[in-house]
Every structure is written in C-alpha cells, then in structure tokens.
C-alpha cells in the first residue's frame, strides 16, 4: 500500500518507536504505515463508522469518537505525537483543539488547507467563494467552518506560545517551489506544521 502523498512529510517527522494519536485517522492508513515502517504504536480517533470498521479490518487501533468533544479521555503528555491532518478547519474551536493536541502530545502535527493561496484570493477578488483543488466543496455544503491562512495560523501559535519546530508548505502536488520560499502565504496550498507546547520546567506534564 503506497502512502498518500500529503502524509509523507509527517512520516519523516515521527521518530521510530514513538507513541502516536491520530485524530480523524480515516481508514488508518497513516497508523498502519507508521506501525509497519517505524514500529510506531498508537491509536486513531475517527467518527465515521465505516472508517472505524476499515481500521478494525486493517488491524489498526481505532477509537470511535467525535473530535469536537475534545481529548478529555487522554492524559497530559500521554503521547509523543498527536497528529491531525486536514481536520482543523472543520472543528468548532480549532484553537481549543490545538491546545488539547499540545496538552496530550509532546509534539503536535497539524495540516490544513491555506486560505491565503492565490487561487482563493482570486476567487474572492471576483466576488465568489473559492472552489480550488485543495478546497473543492461549495460554500453551502463544505465541512470547513474555520479556514485560516498560513499567516493566521502562525500568528495564533505566536500568541499562545506554541513553538513551530518545523513546517512544510506545499502546492497541490505536494512540492515546495521557489514561490513558496518567496511568498509562502500566496503559494502554499497545504500547510503542515510540527509544533511543541511550552513546558514549564519541573512539571511532569
């Protein structure tokens, strides 16, 4: 099974043998890949019953749960990495979700579609809600309710003191080009971040 292109950078960030929680794990592809290639152990959280069944069939640990209900069943710093791909913008409170991710995980890995991409801006300049390869849904049936730009996201991280350890800013074919380096907020379609929460020395969590 070949891994989805947008998940490849995540695999590179995760050290072998780590304990991982994958929020909105879908059919469990990332967890299965990580278990097979890096000896990573963990659980996926997934709300869709069909995906839950697929994970179980694939031998992936999956816990049926609604991400909007939070991670209160999980202890602080109980995972090395908490991963959430392409789900942040669909949550009721992305800021609270990120804060929970960085409470439960020592590191957080988050990916989202960049609302600052030129295609989005072009659509809005024409007076219409954007429909782009990274945001294919129409305004009235999109699950995305809290879209943000790369700059918005980094401003929130700065405000909350979340440290950006690494980032990958990719176009729709998941490459980084010259444009991304010169004007990342304009040319990034998919943004991927490796974050670390500030920890107070002397506290276990």
């Amino acid at each position: 099974m070949s891994l989805r292109r947008d998940l490849e950078p995540i695999v590179e960030w995760i050290r072998p043998g780590a304990r991982i929680l994958d929020l909105g794990c879908g059919d469990g592809q990332l967890l299965k890949h990580l278990a097979g290639t890096r000896g990573v152990r963990g659980y996926g959280l997934e709300i869709d019953p069909l995906n839950v069944t697929r994970c179980i069939e694939a031998g992936v640990n999956v816990i049926q749960a609604d991400l909007d209900e939070g991670l209160r069943d999980f202890g602080s710093a109980s995972f090395d990495y908490v991963v959430m791909t392409q789900a942040l913008q669909a949550l009721q409170r992305p800021d609270e979700a990120l804060s929970e991710i960085l409470r439960v995980g020592r590191y957080g890995i988050v990916t989202f579609p960049n609302f600052g991409h030129w295609r989005v801006r072009l659509a809005l300049a024409r007076g219409r809600m954007p429909m782009t390869p990274a945001l294919p849904a129409r305004w009235y049936d999109t699950p995305n309710i809290h879209l943000c730009t790369v700059d918005d996201f980094e401003a929130l991280c700065a405000l909350r003191g979340w440290k950006i350890i690494d980032r990958r800013l990719l176009d729709q074919s998941h490459r980084e080009g010259l444009g991304h380096r010169l004007a990342p907020n304009l040319f990034t379609e998919v943004a991927m971040y490796l974050l670390e929460a500030p920890r107070i020395k002397g506290f276990a969590t």
Binding site: R19, R41, Y43, P49, V52, T53, R54, C55, I56, E57, A58, G59, V60, N61, V62, I63, Q64, A65, D73, F74, G75, S78
Partner: protein, 388 residues
C-alpha cells in the same frame, strides 16, 4: 417445510448440536473462601479445533444465558441458541475458522453445577447453600474447562454485558491465555443505579412466600411471583425509552379503560409475558447468584481502584463495543474501559454502534455491529492461520 428443516437449510446455521456434560475434577477455590471439590459444566462446541489447538473462541454468557449459543437441539426446536445470528459458518464468529466453546457457567441452572443440582454431601439440591460466586470464580472454572479441552490459549474470548465482564477478568487474571478480548455492552463495575435495580429484583424473589429461604425445590413450589417480578424489572433496563415507546406506546388493549389492575396497556402485557416465560426456564437461586456476581464485579479493586493498573497485566488485544441506546451499561461505561486500556498502553479498538433497542441490542444482528465483529475476528483468524 417445518421450522426446523428451515433452520437447518438456513445458510450459516451450525445445525443440530448436542450439549456435553463435562466433569471438572480439580478442586476450585472460590472468592467466598469455600472450595468446590469438583463441578460439572454443560458445554456446546461448534466448528473444529485445529491441530495447533490455537483457534478456540470462548463465549461467555450474560445473566440469563447458557451453553446453547447456536444451532438447534432437535429438528423441531422453535428457537435456535441465544446468539445464533452471530455464530456459525460464515457468520461474524465463523465456525469454519474457529472452534467455538459455549458453556453454562458454574451456578447456572441449565445443567451445570448450581443451586438446582444435587449436593453430593446431602443428597438434595444445594439451594441457598450453594456458594455465592464472583466473575473471577467463573474465570477460574472456565480455565479448568480450557485445561480439560486442551486449550492453552484462547484465540478470542467474547462476551456481552456480564459476559464482557468475564472477558475483562480473563485478560487481567490469565493474560497469557487470551489473544483477543472482545467486550460488548459491558461496564468496568456496576453503578449504584445498576446495583439498586439488582437489589429490587433480589428483594422481589426473597420476599416471595414460595421462596422458602431458597429451599423451595422439596416443597413442590416455585417463587414464581418473585422471579417474574425480578425479570420484569430487568426487562425495563434492557430496553430504551424510545424502543418501548415505539413498541408499545401507551396503547390500551381495549377501546376504553377498565378501571382495574388487569393488563390494560401493551407494555404491561409484554412485561408479564416476559416474566412468566422466564419463570418456566430459570431458577430463582441462580438469578440471585448472577445478580450478586454482577454487583461484586470490580477488577480495579485489587489494584488500588485503578482499572488501568489492572489492565497493565493484560496482554490481549481488545475490542470494546457499545450501543448508543443502551442505558443499562451506557457507552460512557465502555469509554471508561477504553480509557483505562489506553492509559495502560494496551491495544484497543472501540466501536459505538448506532442502535435503537437498548442493552438488548448486543444480541441483535445490527449490520454495523456484525461488520465490526466480523472484521476484527477475520483478521484474528488470518493472523492465526499465517502462523505455523
């Protein structure tokens, strides 16, 4: 074509099965301090034990279940075993791949040693002298049965409700003997509300004048009013409010009220029928014993009230399943189990089945439920068969 030949022709039936009585001659030390020198268990098996003896699945029954989990005893049986929709060739618990063992637990009333069997020391039924049991006692007894059958390690142990509690206790007490633990519609211990319902059920039996302190066998009577009432109370907790409303509403059976205490509403008729049917097939002393075993269940108690500490002993992979409309052992109780397993670092999957009926849904062939069970167990069978 009669019902039986129809059942046999039904694809997925294990067909006609014959229960076996297995004598366990090893002494069994019980949590209450007493020891049973020997005991007998009624057992049914379906499928074939492989040469490695590695494909055995144990089915743990709930409060009123028994060893007759699948198939028919006779060609003209009206009903198959209690979990026939789930056990059989091609079914989620696939008897073409697994050797399935179902038993009537110690203390039961379907032929295994229990209150209604004869105490060899006195020559009369044990009655109230039969020791009260715990879930752990059942696990010990089932382990002796596994020894007798030559099963060192179960490929899976599966149980719903009180059966799920036996599954958890197995995984904690005998970790090396369970590969997969499937816990369905269960709870990590009873709530005060659960115990309260059990206590009302017990009082209904204990206060029946025909109970005679549990020695009713010799007197030719049955505490049928008490047992019927106990079962009626139980049934309320097995169904959701929505299911009862959908099934019975508040429909009167007659066009006008009759202003007396006869059966007037459909739900009254249902409860009385269920209660009455139960009296004909169940023993009052066993009912008391089963409800006490439920009340006593608390695997965390020996681990500083920390369920995660208890589960740290376990080696099995877990599958936990809950039903959205179950309020007796609600999904929140299953999530407690899952949380403790995650905290303990165990392998666990959790599925919440969208359901209507309530607690009883664990016996229903709900497609999402059976897909999850089938998916999990077929993977377990694949892994088993891949190993030499």
């Amino acid at each position: 074509m009669n019902a039986a030949s129809a059942a046999r022709l039904t694809p997925g039936s294990v067909g006609i099965v014959t229960p076996r009585r297995i004598a366990i001659d090893a002494p069994l030390a019980l949590d209450c301090g007493r020891t049973l020198p020997r005991h007998e268990l009624m057992v049914e098996t379906y499928g074939t034990l492989n040469t490695a003896r590695s494909n055995a699945v144990l089915i743990c029954h709930a409060l009123s279940g028994d060893h007759h989990a699948a198939g028919l005893h006779a060609a003209d049986d009206r009903k198959p075993g209690w979990w026939d929709n789930c056990i059989g060739p091609g079914k989620p618990i696939d008897t073409e791949r697994f050797y399935v063992v179902a038993l009537n637990n110690l203390g039961g009333c379907k032929g295994s040693t229990g209150p209604n069997t004869v105490d060899p020391e006195t020559g009369s039924p044990y009655g109230p002298d039969f020791p009260l049991l715990t879930v752990r006692d059942w696990v010990r007894s089932q382990a002796l049965l596994a020894d007798h059958l030559g099963i060192a390690r179960w490929a899976a142990i599966v149980g719903g409700s009180l059966g799920g509690m036996q599954v958890m206790q197995w995984a904690i007490d005998l970790p090396e003997r369970v590969a997969n633990a499937i816990v369905i519609a269960s709870a990590p211990q009873l709530s005060a509300q659960n115990i309260a319902f059990n206590e009302i059920a017990r009082q209904a039996i204990l206060s029946d004048p025909d109970f005679h302190g549990g020695r009713f066998y010799d007197r030719g009577v049955l505490p049928s009013r008490g047992l019927m009432l106990a079962r009626m109370i139980g049934h309320i907790t097995y169904l959701s409010d929505a299911a009862m409303r959908a099934k019975f509403g508040n429909d009167l059976r007659a066009p006008t009220p009759s202003f007396n205490f006869d059966v007037e509403f459909e739900v009254e008729s249902y409860l009385r029928h269920q209660g009455q049917a139960f009296v004909d097939r169940f023993d009052a002393n066993t009912y008391l014993l089963m409800t006490k075993a439920l009340d006593y269940f608390d695997p965390a108690r020996d681990y500083g009230d920390r369920l995660d500490a208890a589960f740290r002993r376990a080696q099995a992979r877990f599958l936990v399943i809950a039903f959205s409309s179950d309020w007796r052992f609600s999904p929140a109780r299953s999530r407690e189990i899952v949380k403790a397993l995650v905290d303990a670092g165990r392998d666990v999957s959790y599925a919440l089945i969208d359901s209507q009926l309530g607690h009883d849904d664990f016996l229903m062939p709900i497609p999402q439920y059976h897909d999850v069970l089938r998916g999990y167990l077929s993977r377990a069978a694949d892994e088993l068969e891949a190993r030499p």
